[in-house]
């Protein structure tokens, strides 16, 4: 076990000792945050106000702000769930390119432990980073107002970060098999980080896209996790807004908001329930892990 722990520790150190890598792995999240400050917040608030015509005087504008801030946090978390594990896993390509894998293969460390260790360390990195963002985000939000989040929801949020980290890592382990050099894997990262914000609906809610695009985006586990985390973070504040409306609209406003901001992932015209999303992401991760085991056993040159 010492060998597995040691190799995992090494992979973690490689990520956390490289400040630039950390920055780049969070670049999309930072861009989401900056765009939010620049104009996204305004756009989202306008979208909400457009939906609540006639109720402007009833709904507290502070609650609207809290709601939109929650959307921002879910967007930051969703994009980090894509970019952080990918950055961590680039170590596999770098190791192959620099011949570090030969050094590892010359030791008694078993092949399955090497593969599992890359997987574990990336999942841990991603979980640490997203949990950190979640914690800081919640602390900041709680200073701004009541976040209406119970212990169970809080634990679910961290659980989702774990599920999202594991599933994204499993997917990227497979994708990174195709890259033989860091130049190509880095080029792909450029595309990935640009697309990540759109895929999880951080810039524009997925509800604004066609069903085909929405279905495509919801193939990725990070999109489901973003919807789920949005649901957890915003349900409390949505209920508060609903209760302040007091049934005047028969819940139409809240239902419209949930649809607009994709509280539920959807594909091919139907919505996933929260439970269905968790099952989908879990199955997706398991399939990727199975594919990873088969593919790495065939391609990794060590016996």
């Amino acid at each position: 076990m010492k060998d597995f722990m040691g190799f995992t520790r090494r992979n973690l150190l490689i990520y956390f000792k490289d400040k630039l890598a950390i920055l780049f792995s969070l670049l999309t999240s930072i861009i989401v945050f900056v765009l939010y400050l620049l104009f996204l917040k305004g756009t989202f608030v306008e979208a909400m106000k457009g939906t609540m015509r006639g109720l402007e005087n009833i709904v507290n504008s502070g609650d609207i702000d809290m709601f939109v801030n929650g959307i921002l946090l879910s967007g930051i978390l969703g994009s980090a769930l894509i970019t952080v594990p990918y950055t961590c896993l680039q170590t596999i390509v770098k190791d192959r390119e620099a011949g570090v894998d030969s050094d590892i293969c010359a030791t008694p460390l078993k092949r399955w432990k090497i593969i599992l260790s890359y997987f574990t360390s990336s999942s841990i990195c991603s979980f640490i980073m997203t949990s950190l963002i979640l914690t800081v985000g919640l602390v900041v939000l709680s200073f701004m107002g009541d976040i209406h989040l119970g212990i169970a929801s809080l634990l679910s949020a961290y659980g989702l970060m774990l599920l999202g980290s594991v599933s994204s890592t499993a997917l990227f382990m497979l994708i990174l098999l195709f890259f033989k050099s860091t130049a190509t894997s880095t080029a792909f990262f450029g595309i990935l980080s640009a697309a990540a914000g759109f895929v999880i609906g951080a810039y524009i809610p997925l509800s604004q896209f066609s069903d085909g695009v929405r279905s495509f985006c919801n193939i990725f586990p990070a999109s489901h996790i973003t919807s789920l985390i949005r649901k957890i973070l915003l349900s409390g504040i949505a209920e508060k807004i609903d209760s302040s409306i007091g049934g005047l609209d028969n819940g139409a406003f809240i239902e419209a908001i949930k649809d607009t901001f994709s509280f539920n992932a959807s594909a091919f015209g139907s919505n996933f329930s929260g439970f269905q999303s968790v099952i989908y992401v879990s199955i997706f991760a398991l399939v990727c892990i199975a594919g990873m085991v088969i593919a790495y056993n065939r391609t990794y040159k060590r016996r």
Partner: protein
């Protein structure tokens, strides 16, 4: 006692034979050198013997363990210094060595204990907490060798360990290798394309296009394939040519001197004819000549 036994070892990449049925033995405690130009199959052989690459055919036994069957046992007794640095640049020397030690199942204390006999000689104290990419080329090589010693190996494989180093660092690396060999009785398996690095080897194998073209001690190889040369500076004349041919029939006049190829001890002859042979040079046969004669190619010196 034979510590490495290799029989008909072959490595094929599709139809290309990188290593073509080579056989050799390495005695415990000796320094064994693989000499050959780039692409001769030196690194491929090392990679097979260290279990990094799978062999295509043949057999090999490392410390009595069969290659391909008892690989984990082989990995425990091998230490390797690769051509290029393979340690993590962003990590400190300490982190690099401790994590590598853990791959062998060693705890921090066990790593420190196994490196203790070498730490002082390798001056590790000064660089222990420094980041690997902040070290000089020589210091990095020092750490690379220390990394190979983590598991207290019986055989130390060095794959062109001095390539790219400045002369001072090269000398230091050789001092360390001598230290490991003489003070710790370690078996050294070296690949190189530098001729002079094979000078102190107990056994040299010359590899060309994946095949062994010759092997023996440096002295044996030189006596078989290299000839000493007497260069006698004198104007061309019949009398001088007659005298030159008394030493060797292989004698050519070139601009201002006779080039006489010989394996005889010429000291006595020169002394006898000191009134005529006044300006001369004597050049002993070298490993360069051995390689040139065997492969028709010249290596880096």
């Amino acid at each position: 006692m034979k510590i490495i036994e290799v029989k008909n070892l072959t490595k094929m990449y599709r139809k290309f034979k990188a290593v073509d049925g080579i056989s050799f033995d390495v005695e415990e405690g000796e320094m064994f050198a693989f000499l050959g130009e780039n692409g001769a199959g030196k690194s491929t052989t090392i990679n097979m013997l260290t279990t990094i690459l799978e062999k295509t055919e043949g057999e090999a036994y490392i410390c009595g363990h069969a290659l391909g069957k008892e690989d984990d046992e082989i990995r425990k007794v091998n230490g390797i210094v690769f051509q290029n640095s393979v340690l993590d640049k962003m990590l400190s020397v300490k982190d690099n060595l401790l994590t590598r030690g853990s791959y062998y199942g060693l705890s921090r204390k066990e790593v420190e204990k196994s490196l203790e006999p070498f730490s002082e000689r390798f001056e590790m104290k000064d660089i222990w907490n420094r980041r690997y990419d902040k070290l000089s080329g020589g210091q990095r090589r020092r750490v690379d060798i220390m990394r190979a010693l983590i598991n207290n190996p019986k055989i130390l494989f060095l794959d062109e360990p001095t390539t790219g180093l400045d002369p001072k660092s090269r000398k230091l690396v050789w001092d360390y290798i001598d230290f490991l060999r003489k003070e710790h009785g370690m078996t050294i398996f070296l690949t190189t394309h530098y001729m002079e690095e094979t000078r102190d080897a107990d056994h040299v194998v010359i590899l060309d296009k994946g095949r062994i073209v010759s092997s023996g001690t440096p002295a044996e190889l030189k006596s078989r394939y290299a000839h000493s040369k007497l260069i006698w500076y004198t104007p061309r004349s019949e009398k001088a040519e007659e005298l030159a041919k008394q030493i060797s029939e292989t004698c050519v006049y070139d601009v201002d001197h006779y080039n006489i190829s010989t394996d005889k001890n010429v000291t006595e002859f020169v002394f006898e004819h000191r009134d005529q042979i006044t300006d001369y040079e004597y050049i002993k046969g070298s490993m360069d000549d051995v390689f040139l004669n065997l492969t028709g190619k010249e290596l880096a010196s």
